[in-house]
């Protein structure tokens, strides 16, 4: 605020923050993931179970998954990426496991109805239940911002990179 006493006026300044409201969605198209801005993690060929020297243990797998999801190692920033599961060809032939599978507690959309089982998981429901306990697969969605995920929020808005 400032006063201009010559003309007996007090002047104020304000800042407004505005958001655009799209009233015609057909005029707008959101193009998601059109260009890669950088690699973060998860696309190497090291097994989560590998505790070093290709010695695979359940404990190492469980810990490595947790470390990867929480970015626990900010010094080297090196994380493992892969899991391995046994299965039979039959599962591909009956289309339970064709193009998509779930390794978390969440079912695929077409698994939600009916028996609500992990039919797409390699080996099926019983194998999922066994691996879930061993690898603590329920931890995958811990700490997830559900609202941000549902809204598909951007982590940095209006930045030029």
């Amino acid at each position: 605020m400032q006063a201009n006493t010559q003309v007996k006026t007090i002047e104020g300044h304000y800042t407004g923050h505005f958001k655009a409201v799209v009233t015609k969605p057909q005029n707008v198209m959101v193009m998601r993931d059109v260009a890669c801005a950088g690699y973060v993690a998860g696309c190497n060929t090291r097994f989560f179970a590998d505790s070093g020297g290709k010695v695979m243990t359940v404990a190492a797998a469980r810990e490595a998954i947790q470390d990867r999801l929480s970015f626990a190692d900010d010094m080297t920033d090196r994380y493992q990426s892969m899991l391995a599961f046994p299965c039979w060809e039959d599962q591909f032939e009956n289309s339970q496991l064709d193009t998509v599978m779930s390794v978390t507690g969440r079912l695929l959309p077409w698994e939600v109805t009916g028996a609500q089982q992990h039919a797409s998981f390699p080996g099926g429901e019983a194998m999922y239940q066994a691996y879930k306990v061993k690898l603590n697969l329920d931890q995958v969605h811990y700490g997830e911002d559900m609202k941000a995920a549902e809204n598909q929020d951007f982590i940095s808005q209006a930045r030029y990179l």
Partner: protein
Amino acid sequence: MLTRSSQIGEFYVMAPPQVFPGEGEKGKFTCDILIYDEESDRHVRVTWRDALKACLLAVGANAHAEGIAGDVPMDGKGDVAAWVAKADLWATYSESGGSKGAYEAAAGGGGLDVRIVLARPFIEHLMHNAILTVAGRDTGATLFGPADMQLSVILDPIALLPSPR
């Protein structure tokens, strides 16, 4: 650009040779797989043996004490013990090759249907996103007539007519 962290998963399927590749060393590495490693920017060979070990099973030649028990049922041809009995044979065959007899021992009894799924569930990148909008008249133009219009009513033909002033 709008930027956000985007995560996606993928999986690969390892399978033993469905036809006999030939005697001796022609059978070597036939169960292995090449996968792209984005961190080292090259394709890396993942052996059937390493993948089998990473399955963390409590039975077989690479048994883990804490691993998945042999009596856990699997969708398909049998339980974990039945699966690993064949998978172990394929591991040996892929490491050193062998005779047609060794191949048939692994392939028989449903052995050709043994698979290992390799999953990379947490591949994460920073991704650019864009918002495209239409422009100009494509937005739906609002058209204005002359600003100095006036309306008058002529009762005779019962009509409402505009006339320029």
